[in-house]
């Protein structure tokens, strides 16, 4: 009656399209509701603490993912986290700067520092960039250890104040949880919007084929610096937030091992997507606690998981989810 149009497409298309529209929204609303309510249901402070660390680690992994999205892997990410932490902690201790302003200041300073550093370091690509960021991270740790008049060396900084919002101190784990959740949502929304903008498209084209991007008129070094600065700035601000939660800071707080941990989260979760870092952080943060029974073997299992994911799920945990999603909706996911 309706002519020769293929009926399969005619019937399925609107249904799938509608499903595409409401399903992600429903998932996000449900997750958000769970995230708001769940911590109220537990009396175990330790779970709340883990949730806080998960949120913070997610931010670190997402910010590293932002740098990775222009095809550069930084092995010195923890140095920016530590720099942000030191800036805010020292400003609070020496100048009584409110932590909330300290976090903003830390983000700005680390971001600007990354612009300056990026102009020099980002001239190196691939393995050379990895090596130079690794070395820069080592220099930072050594300087923090050595510059005792400011950082108090290995003794660290004690008595760092908690964040307070209009005189309301976020001194309990549960209060900080809602702050961290808000920060997490802010960061993920920002990066999501960025990746959908012209910037995101430029980033992806650079990661995919740097020479082609360059010859298509994309200013590669400009976009790489933007990604490096934003990623480092977010890391610095999140490092500052972390230090006002943990309230202690030493050169050992954020080291090369943390840089590796962020990369692990990103790789395990899936380094090509925004959700990947979050999944990786959500999976790996509580893992040491679950492995508490295997004292000493924790790190070995950690390393084994990283190797296993690299070998068998090269696109990370997120690729399992997306292949399931493709199966259920019966279509190829748009890139």
């Amino acid at each position: 009656m309706h002519g020769p149009r293929p009926p399969a497409i005619d019937q399925d298309e609107p249904r799938i399209a509608a499903r595409r529209r409401w399903l992600p929204a429903a998932v996000i609303v449900t997750l958000l509701a769970l995230a708001l309510i769940l911590p109220q249901l537990t009396t175990n402070q330790f779970y709340v603490h883990l949730a806080n660390l998960m949120l913070l680690n997610s931010i670190f992994a997402i910010s590293l993912g932002l740098i990775a999205s222009v095809g550069q892997i930084s092995l010195g990410h923890a140095a920016f986290v530590a720099a942000g932490a030191y800036i805010s902690a020292l400003a609070a201790l020496s100048f009584k700067l409110p932590p909330l302003l300290g976090i903003v200041l830390a983000g700005l300073v680390t971001g600007l520092a990354a612009v300056a550093l990026g102009k020099i370091l980002l001239r190196l690509r691939g393995v050379y960039f990895v090596l130079v960021t690794f070395l820069a991270g080592q220099v930072f740790t050594l300087v923090a250890l050595n510059w005792e008049s400011v950082t108090h060396g290995a003794n660290g900084l004690l008595g760092i104040p908690a964040i307070s919002i209009f005189g309301f101190p976020l001194s309990t784990r549960l209060r900080f949880y809602y702050f961290a959740l808000a920060a997490f949502i802010l960061v993920i929304t920002f990066v999501w919007a960025l990746m959908r903008s012209q910037y995101g498209r430029a980033f992806r084209s650079i990661a995919e084929n740097i020479r082609l991007a360059e010859s298509s008129g994309i200013d590669v070094s400009h976009y790489q610096i933007v990604a490096f600065a934003l990623g480092s700035g977010i890391a610095g601000a999140a490092g500052a937030a972390t230090v006002h939660y943990i309230r202690f800071l030493s050169p050992d707080s954020f080291t090369f091992n943390d840089s590796i941990a962020y990369i692990t989260m990103l790789v395990v979760g899936g380094r090509h997507t925004l959700i990947g870092g979050v999944l990786g952080a959500a999976f790996l943060t509580p893992l040491p606690e679950l492995l508490r029974g295997f004292v000493g073997a924790q790190h070995i299992i950690y390393g084994a998981i990283l190797l296993g994911v690299l070998l068998f799920i090269p696109n990370g945990l997120v690729s399992i989810g997306s292949s399931l999603w493709r199966k259920s909706s019966g279509t190829e996911e748009p890139k």
Binding site: L121, G126, L135, A136, T264, L306
Partner: protein, 289 residues
């Protein structure tokens, strides 16, 4: 204070650590040149070599030369297995290969902590006494390290220059595809080169066991220095690794004598970052395509 004695001390110390850095860096750069893999686990093989040397020498009480051979062969075979099973799958992907070596490093180091505990163990000197030349006294234990490292490197160099296998390795390093066309079995060359590379690290570890102590964490510093040396000399360049290693040993020894070891470390790292930025291919390296 007699400056000439201080100076001689600094030169000797520089040569000892320089020799160790050289052995580390040569292996590290070999693997990068041939396989394009940055091996973050290189230091852990040094540590395994140090432990093998320690156990065989202290418990079995056999001649140290035999200990060295045991350390090099066991760690070398382990390295071949690691390459075959864990690194070869990432041949096409530099980044994943590098992250894999990070994971391997974490596993080996913590495995060592689990097996042997975190407490450093002191290893007795292989030889005692000193060599007196005029007013200077050089301990034999240090001189032996330098001589052994030079001998090991000479063997390695002869192998690379004079044997079929060595030539095949150099061919793969220059151009893998052309080497394949010439009938070189790249699949055999890769594990062999990796095994040889980590065997050199193990030899360095065993040699340095009596100089420093032996613990699961001893690999970190030599690996960091191998990075530095390799960047100084150019990633993939063996002569660069030799010159860079000895140079870094000297720089380190003199700056540590003058300013203390922490400042010396910072200075070295800054120097290397500077070189990376000005001459990314290293002092003796050739520009990559």
């Amino acid at each position: 204070m007699d400056y000439s004695i201080l100076l001689a001390q600094a030169v000797l110390n520089g040569l000892v650590i320089g020799a160790m850095y050289m052995l580390m860096a040569v292996g590290f750069t070999l693997v990068f040149g041939i396989m394009r893999v940055v091996n973050f686990a290189h230091g852990e093989f040094y540590m395994l070599g140090a432990f093998t040397g320690f156990f065989t020498y202290v418990y079995w009480e056999i001649p140290f030369v035999v200990c060295l051979i045991i350390a090099a062969s066991t760690v070398g075979i382990l390295g071949m297995l690691v390459e075959r099973t864990l690194i070869q799958p990432f041949r096409a992907d530099e980044m994943s290969g590098m992250i894999a070596t990070l994971a391997i490093s974490v596993i080996i180091q913590n495995g060592a902590v689990l097996l042997w505990g975190p407490v450093p163990r002191a290893m007795p000197d292989i030889v005692t006494g000193t060599l007196a030349i005029g007013p200077f006294n050089f301990p034999w234990s240090r001189l032996v390290v330098i001589a052994a490292a030079a001998l090991i490197f000479a063997c390695f160099w002869l192998f690379m220059q004079r044997t079929r296998l060595g030539r095949a390795m150099r061919a793969v390093a220059q151009d893998t595809e052309t080497a394949l066309i010439q009938g070189i079995r790249v699949n055999y060359i890769y594990p062999l080169a990796f095994g040889m590379s980590v065997a050199l690290a193990a030899l360095a570890g065993a040699l340095m066991g009596p100089v420093f102590s032996v613990s699961p964490f001893v690999g970190a510093t030599p690996m960091l220095k191998a990075f530095v040396v390799v960047i100084l000399g150019g990633l993939g360049s063996v002569p660069g690794a030799v010159v860079g290693g000895l140079m870094l040993g000297m720089i380190e020894s003199f700056t540590a004598t003058a300013f203390g070891s922490l400042v010396s470390d910072i200075l070295q790292l800054l120097l290397v970052i500077l070189i990376l930025l000005v001459r990314p291919a290293g002092l003796l390296g050739q520009r990559e395509a």
